[in-house]
Amino acid sequence: MTPAALRAEGLRKSYGAQEVVCGVSLRVRPGECFGLLGPNGAGKTTTLKLCLGLVEPDAGEIELLGEPVPARAREARRNVGVVPQFDNLDPDFTVAENLLVYGRYFGLRSEEILRRVPGLLEFAGLAGRADARIGALSGGMKRRLTLARALVNDPSLVFMDEPTTGLDPQARRLIWERLRQLTQQGKTLILTTHFMEEAERLCDRLAIMDHGRIVTEGSPRELIAQHIEPHVVEVHGPAVAEWTARAKRLCPRVERAGDTVYCYADQVEGILKDLSAEKGLVYLHRAASLEDVFLKLTGRDLRD
């Protein structure tokens, strides 16, 4: 067995009386894209900070790229890139200067960094923008520059905390494409997200976290097969309340959330036939997705 790129065992972290990470264990293989999913406040960011050695665990063990963390976190971080949740590009600098200044934090020589800059800008789709000020960049460009900055030390592992939050679909797709290129180069990616579509497309394996615990773990396909019936029918409309009672006879599992009823089933012909006769209902038939798994395991309540 190859040694794990990241191994965490029984991590615990409390703030005051509240335990935000309660016994998390993770094993990420080299070269895979691993996703950490969970609602807001599930403990994802704290878990990442623990793995980077920026926060000390109350209990548990971490090994990042073969180095014990936090004891040798600084050494481990030499080969790690980080895309933080909130942009912290340096507004005092141009695009290229941001890379130069950041590379120096890794002890890299200026000439070495300047040699890498064109390639990094090319990768980030920012070629020709080397001298642009940060304020002049769009949200997507800033995010891509943050990604390029995380690669300035040519890391073997990159942590990404919600890499596409706040981006439009075009910008998001460009980031996905780049992340896939990174995994093709053999880099290990660990990302947190609450976009299920993103996790489904990018991650080889993922763990769903809630209330500081890992609720389930596996490949997106495995998780869907394991937790959810293959077909979903979403129904809403004025007559939905009365229809729900009937739905329960037609379908093994029916869930109601707000004004919508979700029917999960292996066979949906019966339900669809029944619905096509209904005037007061709007319905959508689709394949089960990771989002259904996520909502089943973490519930539908708001988490703010």
């Binding site: 000390e56 971080r77 980080v82 600098f93 200067e97 120096r104 934090y105």
Partner: protein
């Protein structure tokens, strides 16, 4: 963070220099207005008070009031430059721009970041103090050699106030917090430290209190130095400044860890 790692001595690597260089790269572009500000502000005060009050006061302790005031201003200019950098500028980088958060994702400790900021604030203080020394020398109130001899003391004053400033920064909730420190701490300190007038005619209690103030000790070394003398209690003065620098930096480290490494 555990108690022992919170209170551990700073764990530094030479990479703090990268933080200093970051700030230098920003400042380089603003160098000319910054230096003009360093020169203009104290010059206006110095000429206004030095010549205006000087005409009424005449001599203080055997030298012209202008020379007396100018040597005090070398120390206060240094103090204010270090403080501004360690409060307002460092707070922007720590809190507003989240620059420090970005840096500690690299193989840097928060202690490295603070050491870089400390050295940087002392560098800005050195620039401000040096500007004043150029004025003092240019007007013939001290020989260039004496002005140069005062530079290490300027650095020490800068390190002391930068360290205390970074500790205050770690406690700040916003920029408003700093006006308390400036108004309630630095302004009274300036009055009690012999910058504008000698304090040897003030009540003994006040003179004793002044002994606890870093600015008092800075002025007490620089003023005789510019006239070619060593301060009578040189070791005491230097010791207090060194203590403020070391204890201040340690406090800044512990308080900033408590604030950011949760």
């Amino acid at each position: 963070m555990t108690r022992s790692s919170l209170f551990a001595l700073p764990e530094l690597s030479l990479r703090w220099i990268a933080v200093w260089r970051r700030n230098w790269l920003v400042w380089r572009r603003l160098a000319v207005p910054s230096i003009l500000g360093n020169l203009a502000d104290p010059l206006i005060m110095l000429f206004g008070l030095g010549y205006g009050l000087g005409a009424m006061i005449g001599e203080v302790h055997g030298s012209s009031y202008f020379a007396f005031l100018a040597s005090g201003f070398v120390a206060t200019s240094t103090m204010y430059a270090a403080t501004f950098e360690a409060l307002y500028s460092a707070f922007s980088r720590m809190h507003v721009q989240r620059t420090w958060e970005g840096i500690v994702n690299a193989p840097m400790t928060l202690d490295d970041v603070l050491a870089g900021e400390w050295a940087w604030a002392a560098t800005k203080a050195l620039a401000a103090g040096a500007c004043l020394l150029v004025i003092v020398a240019a007007f013939g109130y001290a020989s260039p050699a004496r002005a140069v001899a005062a530079l290490p003391i300027v650095v020490l004053i800068g390190l002391a106030f930068a360290a205390v400033g970074l500790a205050v920064n770690a406690l700040a909730s916003g920029y408003d917090f700093f006006s308390y420190y400036m108004t309630l701490v630095l302004t009274p300190m300036m009055m009690l430290s012999g910058v504008f007038f000698p304090i040897d005619r003030m009540p003994e209690a006040i003179q004793l209190a002044a002994m606890a103030l870093p600015l008092y000790h800075g002025v007490a070394v620089i003023r005789p130095l510019l006239q070619g003398d060593l301060a009578p209690q040189l070791a005491l003065h230097l010791g207090v400044l060194v203590a403020y620098a070391i204890v201040g930096f340690y406090a800044a480290t512990v308080l900033t860890r408590r604030r950011l490494l949760k």
